[in-house]
Symmetry: C2
Subunit: 191 residues, 2 copies
Amino acid sequence: MSLGFGILGFLNYAPMSGYDLVKAFESSLQFFWHAQSSHIYLELKKLEKKGYISGETLIQSDRPNKKIFSITETGKREFLSWLAEGAGEEATHFKSAFLMKVFFGGNMTPAQSADMLRRFQADCEAYLGSMGSAPESIEKYGHNKERCQTIYWQFTVDFGYAFIKTCIEWAGRCIRKLESIEGENRKEDEV
Amino acid sequence: MSLGFGILGFLNYAPMSGYDLVKAFESSLQFFWHAQSSHIYLELKKLEKKGYISGETLIQSDRPNKKIFSITETGKREFLSWLAEGAGEEATHFKSAFLMKVFFGGNMTPAQSADMLRRFQADCEAYLGSMGSAPESIEKYGHNKERCQTIYWQFTVDFGYAFIKTCIEWAGRCIRKLESIEGENRKEDEV
DNA sequence: AGGCTCATGTAACCGGTTACATGATTAT
DNA sequence: ATAATCATGTAACCGGTTACATGAGCCT
């Protein structure tokens, strides 16, 4: 139901259509929450059924019509109480199929493992590059809001930076270790 | 299907029962993959149906009987080709409902947000403490295997350490920032 | 005419969780 | 007796993905 709360959070800023929400997720939460448009529309239906939001069709002449959703009082209460719950222990959980591959790296050659880690490192660097636009996004979306909102957005961006940098450094250590092993193996072969 | 590959990975070390696999996941992959026993048994059935593993009932007199699963040639091939695929771009993805709460922190008081972050930080410290047993686990499980396996296990443990430490430091920075804001607000109130 | 953005959905499926259910054997 | 560990499952559900489908209106 976390996606639902994300939607409520955005609607708590301002009424929006499903399409607007898709864009909003893409340009902010996507660092730690990937939402498919199909899923968002599905969730909107559920939230409306529960009475947390209400939608009104807006007739447009220049573009296709759209349905604008607003958060209800009940919805606001639900959202705020979810926030107030604070962090559960699941916050420290981290799931990764990639690390599973690393774990079973003994079934590949060290060279293969090193390649995998290099690819990972490169993806991280690319990701880091794509995050360059984050400060502007925050500026753009936040300039008409209270300034106190944007520091929380910045917190999540900071987390992203710190996380990716940690990944890059870790991968570097692993790669160096694997290269040293390869070096030893070659020496043994020569003897 | 990642859970399936995790199971194949363990069975590639040695034949095991469902119960053994539950224990194996708990004592190693749980840092980045939580597997419920019910799910493991379900997955074992699927893998058997696909012909990736085969099970034989072992009759025990001192304990309840159990079903020992072994990886088949087909299973081995599948597992190895999954490994060889390397890291996909999903490796850099990170999903967190907790960060979503941080993102929407503007709907709480800074004090509430700071409390949430302190709780998170404390959970991280606790997690760090629980990881102290990892090196022994590796030693224990690895001493009868080739030494080259254990360095990959160590890699994932190292990642865990680095990740949690990054979380703790990040949370600290956020908390300090929030405390300074609270300080400013109090000053304004006094004027 | 063709491609773009805007706009909204449905259906099938899959991965995973929760809750429940059962029963053998061993140790205290 | 009874608690703990060993051992295996089922059923209902939920959160999310993938693939598919549609169509309005704009720009070139």
